[in-house]
Symmetry: C3
Subunit: 191 residues, 3 copies
Amino acid sequence: MKEKIVLLGGGGHCHSVIDVIEQENKYEIIGIIDKKELIGTDVLGYKIIASDDELDEIYRTCKNAIITVGQIETNHVRVKLFNKLKELGFNLPVIVSPLAYVSKHSFIDEGTVVMHHALINANVKIGKNCIVNSKALIEHDSIIEDYCHISTASVINGGVIVKEGNFFGSNATSKQSIVIDNFIKAGSLAK
Amino acid sequence: MKEKIVLLGGGGHCHSVIDVIEQENKYEIIGIIDKKELIGTDVLGYKIIASDDELDEIYRTCKNAIITVGQIETNHVRVKLFNKLKELGFNLPVIVSPLAYVSKHSFIDEGTVVMHHALINANVKIGKNCIVNSKALIEHDSIIEDYCHISTASVINGGVIVKEGNFFGSNATSKQSIVIDNFIKAGSLAK
Amino acid sequence: MKEKIVLLGGGGHCHSVIDVIEQENKYEIIGIIDKKELIGTDVLGYKIIASDDELDEIYRTCKNAIITVGQIETNHVRVKLFNKLKELGFNLPVIVSPLAYVSKHSFIDEGTVVMHHALINANVKIGKNCIVNSKALIEHDSIIEDYCHISTASVINGGVIVKEGNFFGSNATSKQSIVIDNFIKAGSLAK
């Protein structure tokens, strides 16, 4: 029997995460947490069942949670939700698409999702509550600290450090062996 | 027994489509339609068997067709061929590489090909007679209208609409939630 | 029983190649060749066992070798090692990640490695001692000559020729049907 999981945030990123969780086939999605006025509405076949205020009640029947709010301008919401979930005792599993590849020589911390066709090469460390988005590539010996969003089809080359809380834009490319501690725009080259 | 299919256009894009059809292993390629003077020549082991003028005769023994002419400057040829095939009664199947991924929450219309390593995420709609080329990524909630070419390794981010007949260049990137109704150059950022 | 192989160069690129060889599960890595002062140290669980000077001794017990030195500014080291290995009689196998795709209509020459999620489309020829790095795409009808590094997530479009010894940068894109005979920067468009 599959373990239960609840998703926090019912927007576009949630659609992608639902697809990953369904393909992974490891968790049963019991519903989605979002704004009060959205309760009862449908997200790809799952219901919005409660708002943030009711997370302690949800915890009684479901111990796993994952944050499905996106992150572009700021990670503020995702960090706040992460802390709240941890306080309440929730388990935040690592979610990895079966269509992604994660080297056995690498490590991923709690609450991080690795989306379809992402590739995490050897000797990589990825922190808590990150998004490694669809088709992102993280090359050997890189470190992604907590609360980062490595966006779609972006390329982190070998030996790079992305500091805590940063956004690395869609299809952007990093030179190898650099430290990144700022917002990286979509399609740009970080050097 | 595999169903028969005929390909229209024996150039470079045809080589890629042949590879996809062989990997999909669902259709038997009976030959290729191209210019009269090329009849009898070989394309990756398949013969050019007829020109456009003889499509009605081909239809007697083969009900499936797919357009393998490429599309960069204009989709004129591909649209004309599509209309001709439909008039003659041909079935234009959706061709999806087994190395691509298409979310079950998405929809693809007739005559569209999805090439190797392409990824079509959740809640996407793709129109008729499109090319979703090798390694292209179409993120959640996007709409690709009819007769578009989403070129190799390009990235359509979440909630984008690509209007009918457009070319989205190789390794180009779109911002999310925009409408695209023009030619997008290879490697560029559409915002 | 798996055949034995020795790796030349214990840096970052070696980490990625180890991951590929382990996933391919065809060769047993007996150790790594690097500088004398590094002998005895560990690389992802494998020992540095000798320096270049001892390759003739290594050959007595291990006939397969692969070059795991990277290539950015120059291919000088990789070419020199290749010639030395050939002189000593080593076999330089083609290494292909099981997570990559190589069309059966394509050809790859000795000593070349094709990394995770790379895609080599139909009717492509790739020379000796090349690196086709993670997520690189080489489209139909292209030719990559000897001693090239097609870097991570780069895109070689259809009908392109990359002349001997060139570096094609990470996430760079080539126009189709061009000849490339120079250093291509990461993230750039070659036309």
